[in-house]
C-alpha cells in the first residue's frame, strides 16, 4: 500500500548520507594552503567552468556548498590525493569520473577552483539563521 519515499524524505535521507560522506571525506579538513601545496598546479578559472559544464554542480551546488544529493566540497576541500581517489573510484553513490571523462589536468583545475572558494559567513552573523 505504501509507496516509495517522497522527494522531501529522499532529500532528508540524502542529507544524512551526504553528511556521512562528508565526514568520511573530510576528516579534520586540512588547511587550504596545505592542500594546495600537495595538489598539482591548476587553473581555478578553468576549474570553475569545468565544475559547471561537467555537472559537478548538479549534486554539489555551483559554489560546491553541498546539498540534498551531494556533500559540501568547499571551502577547505579535502586533500587532493583523497579527492582524486574518490572522483576516480567512488565508494558511495557518486558516479565514477574516469580519466576519459575528466582529465588529470581538469581534475587539478577543479581542485584549484574548490581551493579558491572563500569561507562562508558565520551563522551567527546571519540574523534569520539564528531564529
Amino acid at each position: 500500500m505504501k509507496g516509495i519515499t517522497s522527494f522531501a524524505l529522499a532529500l532528508a535521507a540524502a542529507f544524512v548520507v551526504a553528511t556521512a560522506i562528508l565526514a568520511a571525506q573530510n576528516p579534520g579538513a586540512a588547511p587550504a594552503a596545505a592542500n594546495a601545496q600537495a595538489a598539482p598546479k591548476g587553473s581555478a578559472e578553468n576549474g570553475k567552468k569545468v565544475f559547471s559544464s561537467y555537472g559537478c554542480y548538479e549534486c554539489h551546488g555551483y559554489a560546491a556548498q553541498g546539498g540534498g544529493a551531494g556533500p559540501r566540497l568547499a571551502p577547505r576541500p579535502i586533500a587532493f590525493t583523497a579527492f582524486s581517489k574518490y572522483v576516480r573510484l567512488p565508494t558511495g553513490q557518486m558516479p565514477p569520473y574516469t580519466s576519459k571523462v575528466v582529465s588529470d589536468q581538469e581534475l587539478a583545475d577543479i581542485f584549484a577552483f574548490l581551493s579558491s572558494i572563500p569561507a562562508a559567513p558565520a551563522a551567527n552573523t546571519i540574523p534569520i539563521l539564528t531564529r
Partner: protein, 635 residues
C-alpha cells in the same frame, strides 16, 4: 429526497418513440433549394424543412417525456451529503452531466461544492492533498474512459500514499441508451478495470439502492487502514432517470470500521523488546494521522527516551534524530514505514549494484504496519521484502495507546535511570545537528542562482510567526520548527511528477477553514504538467503561497543521464539535452498572473527574496493564492 410528483414514465419507451420520430424526419426529403429571386439575401434565413416540421408538428409525447423533476442524480447528491463530502472536484464531462447539475442546483452547490479543475489528474491529486490534511476523502468525478485515463496517475498516488479518495465515474452501460459518437467512446463495459490494480474497491451499481449501499461501503473501505482510493461507477441512465423507477429508497447508515490494533500478545512482546533495548530507534514512517497520534508517539518516545527518525514527530524535539540513528541501534521499530528495507539498507546505484547494511549485526527489526493486511500484486510500489524479527499487522496509531501502557508497566527504576542517560546523549546530538544545519546553510548563502537552504530559510522567516502548514513539494529542511501533525503532508506516494501543485491546492483548501497559512516549495518541472491547478486555486479563492524552486531543469533526470554517461565513459556535457527547461526560460510569475494569481519573479538576487516572499505572504493572508518564482540551485 424531496417529494416527487407522480411521473411514472419509462425512458426507454420515450427513446424508442423519439428514435422513430427522428427516423421519420430523416426520411422526409429535403426540397431542392429555391433559386434566388433577388440579389440580396433575406434579412432572416428561412427555416429548413426539418426545422419547420419540428416546430409545427404536434409534440408527439407528453411533456413528461421531456422533463424529469427528480432524477436519480438528486438521490446520488443525497448520498454524497449523507457521507459528509465537502467537495467534489471535476473537469466537466457529459457522462456525469446529470450528477453535475444535481450538485449545483438540487444540492445548492454546498457540501459538496463543485471544484472546477482543468485536468482530471489535478482533481485526483487535489483529493490526495485534501485527504492528507482533513483525514477524509474528497470526491472526484470523471468520464469512465478519457477522464479516468487522465486521473489515473493521481489515483495511483492515492493508492501509494494510502489516502482515501472517492472516485465517481460517469458511464453509460446500456449500449442502446448511448448517443452516437462521443457517448460510445466515453463508455466502458468494465470502467474501473483500468485502475483496479491500484484501488481498494470498485462497483457498478445498477439501481439507486445499489448506488447508496455501494457508496457507503466504498467510503468505509476507503477509510479503513490501510486507506486508499475506491471507485463507484455512476451509470448515466441511473443518473438521469427518475427516482420513481427505483421504488422506496433509504440511506444506509455509515459505521466506519475501527482501525485494527495489534493483539495484546504482540503488544506485550514489543513492549518488552523496547524496554530491554539499549539503543532502540522508532521510525515514524506514515504512522501518525491525528494530533492525538502525535501526542502518543511523543509520550512513547519520552517514556523510553528513545529517538524517533522520520514521520510526524516535532522537528526540534530533543529525541528527534536523522536516519543515521539506526546505525548503532539494537532495535529498530518501523511504524508504517513505506520502504523499511530501503531504510535499513543502502543500495548503491553503480554498474555492479551492491547493498550495504545501515544497521549493526544482531539488530532486531520490528514492523508495525497495516500494510501487511492488504497488498496487490501487479504494481510494485510495495518495495522489497524486509526480513524482520517480528511483524505486527496492525495500524500503529490505533496500537500506540496499548503499547504505551505496556511499556510503562515494564519500566523499572533501573531502566528509567538508563533511559535518562540515553536521553541526555540523544538531546546533545540533536542540538549539535541543529547547529550543523545552521552552519551548512551559510555555504553558498549569497550565491545566485539562490541556494535551497537560503530559499527555505527566507520562507521560514516569513511564516514562522503564523499558524503555517507546508502543503507539499520540497520539504522545509532541518531549520523549520515543525511541531504540529498538520504541518507536513510528505511521505508515501509513488513519486509521480505533476502532482505537487494540485496536491498543494487540495491541501490548502483543507487548511482554509482552519485559517492556516499554507505554503509550498514547488518544483518547476512538476508545475508544468498541470499548471491549471493554479487557476483552480484563484477561481475558488484558495489561499496558499507557492515558492517556485526554479532550477530550470529536470535535475533528477540530468543526474541519471550523467550517471549513465560516466558509466559509459562518454563525457557528460550532453546530459542536459532532453532535461533542461530553458531557452526560453519559463516565466512562472507571468503564468501566475495570467491565471489571476499574484506573481513575482524571477528572483535571482538572494537579497530580493525575503521582501518578495513577505509581499506574497501578505496576499495569501488576505485569502488569495500567490507565487514567487525563485531561480535556484539544483538541490
Amino acid at each position: 429526497m424531496a417529494d416527487s410528483k407522480s411521473n411514472q414514465f419509462d425512458r426507454r419507451d420515450f427513446l424508442k418513440g423519439a428514435a422513430a420520430g427522428a427516423a421519420a424526419l430523416a426520411a422526409t426529403p429535403e426540397p431542392a433549394a429555391a433559386a434566388p429571386t433577388q440579389a440580396q439575401p433575406p434579412a432572416v434565413a428561412l427555416p429548413s424543412a426539418q426545422a419547420r416540421v419540428a416546430e409545427t408538428q404536434p409534440v408527439p409525447l407528453d411533456i413528461q417525456a421531456l422533463v424529469e423533476d427528480h432524477p436519480g442524480s438528486d438521490f446520488m447528491v443525497d448520498v454524497l451529503k449523507h457521507l459528509g463530502f465537502e467537495y467534489v472536484a471535476a473537469n466537466p464531462g457529459s457522462s456525469f452531466r446529470s450528477l453535475h447539475e444535481s450538485i449545483v442546483n438540487y444540492g445548492g452547490n454546498k457540501a459538496p461544492e463543485l471544484l472546477t479543475c482543468c485536468h482530471e489528474e489535478s482533481s485526483a491529486f487535489m483529493a490526495c492533498g485534501y485527504a492528507k490534511v482533513e483525514g477524509k476523502p474528497m470526491a472526484i468525478m470523471a468520464h469512465s474512459t478519457v477522464g479516468l485515463q487522465h486521473a489515473s496517475i493521481g489515483v495511483y498516488e492515492a493508492f501509494g500514499a494510502g489516502v482515501p479518495v472517492f472516485i465517481i465515474l460517469g458511464n453509460t452501460i446500456d449500449a442502446a441508451d448511448r448517443r452516437p459518437g462521443v457517448e460510445w467512446s466515453h463508455s466502458a463495459q468494465d470502467a474501473a478495470s483500468m485502475v483496479r490494480d491500484y484501488t481498494k474497491w470498485d462497483d457498478l451499481p445498477i439501481s439507486l439502492t445499489h448506488f447508496a449501499e455501494s457508496a457507503v461501503r466504498g467510503y468505509k473501505i476507503a477509510m479503513t487502514p490501510p486507506m486508499g482510493p475506491v471507485v463507484l461507477v455512476a451509470d448515466s441512465h441511473l443518473q438521469e432517470a427518475g427516482v420513481e423507477e427505483h421504488g422506496p429508497l433509504r440511506m444506509p447508515r455509515l459505521t466506519l470500521a475501527r482501525p485494527p490494533a495489534a493483539d495484546s500478545g504482540a503488544v506485550a512482546e514489543l513492549a518488552k523488546l523496547l524496554v530491554a533495548a539499549e539503543n532502540p530507534v522508532l521510525l515514524g514512517g506514515q504512522a501518525i494521522r491525528t494530533p492525538e497520534g502525535m501526542r502518543l508517539l511523543i509520550e512513547l518516545a519520552e517514556t523510553l527516551q528513545a529517538p524517533v527518525s522520520g514521520g510526524k514527530f516535532p522537528s526540534r524535539h530533543p529525541l528527534r534524530q536523522g536516519g543515521g540513528a539506526i546505525r548503532n541501534a539494537d532495535l529498530v521499530v518501523g511504524l508504517d514505514v513505506p520502504d523499511f528495507w530501503g531504510t535499513v539498507n543502502t543500495y548503491l546505484d553503480q554498474h555492479v549494484r551492491r547493498v550495504q547494511s545501515n544497521t549493526r549485526p544482531g539488530v532486531k527489526l520490528v514492523s508495525l504496519t497495516s500494510g501487511d493486511l492488504y497488498l496487490k500484486s501487479n504494481y510494485q510500489n510495495f518495495q522489497r521484502y524486509t526480513e524482520v524479527d517480528m511483524a505486527i499487522a496492525a495500524d500503529p496509531e490505533a496500537t500506540l495507546p496499548s503499547l504505551l501502557e505496556a511499556v510503562k508497566r515494564l519500566v523499572t527504576p533501573d531502566r528509567q535511570r538508563a533511559f535518562a542517560e540515553r536521553g541526555k546523549r540523544i538531546a546533545a546530538a540533536s542540538a549539535q545537528a541543529l547547529e550543523q544545519a545552521r552552519t551548512a546553510a551559510t555555504f553558498g548563502w549569497n550565491e545566485s542562482p539562490i541556494s535551497v537552504p537560503r530559499l527555505t530559510a527566507e520562507l521560514w522567516n516569513a511564516i514562522k510567526d503564523h499558524d503555517w502548514a507546508n502543503v507539499g513539494g520540497v520539504g522545509g529542511g532541518p531549520l523549520w520548527n515543525i511541531d504540529k501533525h498538520y504541518q507536513t503532508i510528505d511521505g508515501g506516494g509513488v513519486s509521480a511528477e505533476g502532482g505537487d501543485l494540485p496536491t498543494a491546492v487540495g491541501a490548502a483548501l483543507a487548511h482554509r477553514k482552519h485559517g492556516r497559512l499554507a505554503v509550498s516549495i514547488q518544483k518547476d518541472g512538476d508545475f508544468m504538467y498541470a499548471p491549471g491547478a493554479l487557476w483552480t486555486a484563484a477561481h475558488h479563492r484558495i489561499p496558499f503561497l507557492s515558492v517556485m524552486h526554479n532550477n530550470r531543469c529536470y535535475h533528477q533526470e540530468v543526474m541519471h543521464i550523467q550517471r549513465m554517461a560516466n558509466r559509459h565513459q562518454r563525457g557528460i556535457t550532453n546530459a542536459g539535452i532532453g532535461n533542461r527547461l530553458d531557452d526560453p526560460n519559463i516565466d512562472f510569475a507571468a503564468m501566475a498572473r495570467a491565471m489571476g494569481v499574484h506573481g513575482e519573479g524571477p528572483i535571482t538576487n538572494p537579497n530580493d527574496l525575503g521582501p518578495a516572499i513577505r509581499r506574497a505572504v501578505d496576499v495569501v493572508l488576505k485569502g488569495e493564492p500567490a507565487l514567487v518564482d525563485v531561480v535556484s540551485q539544483p538541490r
